[in-house]
């Protein structure tokens, strides 16, 4: 067990709380940097996919896990990011007054895709600000359906269900849309997004977000401008998810509205809940889970009778089942379980189960709504 003696306020602000962080995260960083040397291209592709989903998951985590606003429409922002990227780097931006379409390098197009998705987030954020809980989920759900419809009908831009080819992206001669360069691009952006999230969460805006999650009424009385912080959270969350979408466009190489359905939104939500709501680690663990589960199911199919294995809809069913089980038995998800395991070894042999026993809230206050 490690005891921290604090002698400086910076110690509470620092990202690495003690020297152990440098070791564990240093080794992790080395491993992911060396991965292209150690693994073959299939696994590199899978890890790239993991980073992309983790970025999107982090976006939703900031909103659902830290601000307490549940969105069922994040596939829309994911899609907006993907299509913006594909159009800006492919056909280019064509405004009525322009002679020739303006084609961007991905270095510019990716931030633009994130910003554009962020703006969409703010625009949807403003009207739905007054909603909470299930009503907010319904409103974002509706928004996602609208966007899905736009993606399939606005054929002059998105090519509808015919699909849109995504061009490869280059710096010099290096193709950044496949293989190792793409792996490092996604890894770099994931690390950047994690750092941004940590920074946000240790500064006043992040604390205001958590305050809103736990008690809007007292957050307001402490001077938190609810409308502003919620819109900010919505914008940042949508922007990060849009950035993931931009990367996803290159991962797929071919965009069609089918990639951004409501099921995708649900998958993000499963990611956040199963990974561990209210933690950055949770977004990464959750991304591993949503990517590994379909593969695990495909392998498991060979070992169960075909009547069960080949049943249509068995996969969403198992997703849903796991979601329900996690909410009931491990509300803080994989990360919560990980903390318990860690605690067990730190306290060995005097670990008590009751340490993590969920407290019943005896004093549910009158919420002034």
């Amino acid at each position: 067990m490690r005891f921290l003696f604090k002698t400086d306020y910076n110690q509470d602000i620092r990202i690495a709380k003690h020297s152990g962080y440098y070791w564990s995260y240093g080794v992790l960083l080395l491993l992911v940097l060396a991965a292209p040397l150690l693994l073959d291209s299939y696994y590199i592709g899978q890890m790239t996919q993991l980073y992309i989903v983790a970025i999107a998951g982090l976006g939703l985590m900031l909103l659902a896990g830290y601000t307490g606003l549940v969105s069922l429409g994040h596939a829309a922002f994911f899609g907006i990011g993907a299509y913006t990227e594909a159009v800006l780097t492919g056909a280019g931006l064509q405004l009525p007054f322009m002679e020739e379409p303006l084609v961007f390098s991905f270095v510019v197009a990716m931030p633009l895709a994130a910003i554009f998705a962020g703006i969409a987030g703010v625009v949807i954020g403003i009207p739905v600000l007054r909603l909470t809980g299930i009503y907010l989920a319904i409103a974002t759900f509706a928004f996602a359906i609208v966007i899905e419809e736009v993606m399939s009908r606005w054929e002059s831009v998105t090519n509808g269900y015919t699909g849109l080819l995504v061009d490869s992206i280059y710096i010099g001669d290096i193709d950044f849309s496949s293989g190792e360069p793409f792996y490092f691009l996604c890894l770099g952006l994931l690390i950047l997004v994690i750092l941004f999230s940590i920074n946000l969460l240790r500064s006043p805006t992040g604390r205001a977000m958590m305050a809103i999650r736990d008690s809007e009424i007292s957050a307001q009385s402490m001077g938190v401008n609810l409308a502003r912080v919620k819109t900010t959270a919505f914008g940042i969350s949508a922007g990060i998810t849009g950035l993931a979408g931009a990367l996803f466009a290159h991962k797929l190489g071919f965009l069609s509205p089918e990639s951004f359905t409501v099921l995708q939104s649900l998958e993000f939500l499963v990611l956040v809940v199963v990974g561990g709501i209210g933690s950055i680690h949770g977004a990464i663990f959750g991304a591993m889970f949503v990517l590994a589960l379909p593969q695990a199911l495909a392998i498991a199919k060979d070992y169960v009778p075909p009547e069960i294995g080949e049943m249509p809809g068995i996969e969403p069913f198992i997703f849903g089942l796991i979601l329900v089980l996690v909410i009931i038995f491990e509300p803080y998800g994989i990360y919560g379980r990980w903390l318990k395991v860690k605690h067990y070894f730190q306290m060995f042999p005097i670990y008590k189960k009751a340490t993590f026993k969920r407290q019943k809230a005896y004093m549910k206050s009158e919420r002034l709504k």
Partner: protein
């Protein structure tokens, strides 16, 4: 000199007149207490002052400024802080984080610099932390700094909530039943703290309270409400002797 003034304050919920034509004036540096039977409109007055409710009639003035129609989040930066009757802390956060949220109305850092965590943000954070530590010292909360609120007992939560209000560096603090749910010893502590808040920190206190021992110990003026109307007003002793008040509390 008056710091806060409510004139002809009224609010209706449908046909219910929760607060009806209430006038009072709080002088700088005093402790003003509102008492009354349940449902008399005491907390409603607090919610009117912190602008959670819109008053139907009347005006409120704080330090010469009309606050009747200010947005709720603007109240804290003016220098009015409050606590809640049924503790409204941020349960999934530590005591330290809760107190730091109390500093929110003083934070001026922009979103961009926060995302980058520029040196200016770090400097501001440390300045906030120093203020928070003063409050932690004042209320003897050192031991609980890193504990999550949801693991703390009721009595400590009550103190943390008081601390969070103090972190906003208020000039007027609204305490909604500071002693409810506390044992005799904790109530004693609370009355010392209220006295210290008034005398050492020079903060004006507006309080809703049922414990008459605490009320007569710390308050300078007492206002009695019944059914949203003013029943009596004066020093604690005067009010306790008032036959109207005795009638409202005990019946005839």
């Amino acid at each position: 000199m008056s710091l806060f003034k409510a004139e002809n304050l009224a609010i209706n919920f449908g046909g219910v007149k929760a607060v009806d034509g209430v006038n009072f004036e709080i002088n700088k540096g005093e402790c003003f207490t509102i008492i009354g039977p349940n449902g008399a409109g005491k907390t409603t007055i607090f919610n009117l002052i912190s602008r959670i409710y819109d008053s139907t009639e009347g005006t409120m003035t704080f330090d010469g400024q009309d606050i009747t129609r200010l947005p709720p989040h603007a109240i804290a930066s003016l220098g009015i802080a409050r606590t809640f009757q049924n503790i409204e802390l941020f349960e999934h956060a530590t005591v330290l984080q809760n107190l730091l949220v109390g500093r929110h109305c003083h934070s001026k850092t922009g979103l961009f610099s926060e995302l980058m965590f520029l040196p200016s943000v770090r400097k501001a954070e440390i300045a906030h932390r120093e203020k928070v530590e003063e409050v932690i010292d004042f209320l003897d909360l050192q031991h609980y700094r890193e504990s999550l609120i949801m693991n703390l007992p009721y009595g400590v939560r009550k103190v943390v909530e008081l601390g969070r209000a103090l972190c906003t560096e208020p000039r007027l603090i609204l305490l909604d039943e500071p002693s409810s749910g506390l044992n005799v010893e904790e109530t004693q502590d609370m009355s010392f703290w209220i006295d210290d808040i008034k005398k050492d920190l020079g903060i004006t206190v507006l309080m809703v309270e049922h414990d008459m021992g605490l009320v007569s110990e710390v308050s300078d003026q007492v206002l009695v409400l019944n059914y949203g109307r003013m029943l009596a007003h004066g020093s604690p002793q005067e009010v306790q002797r008032n036959p109207e008040v005795i009638k409202a509390y005990l019946g005839e």
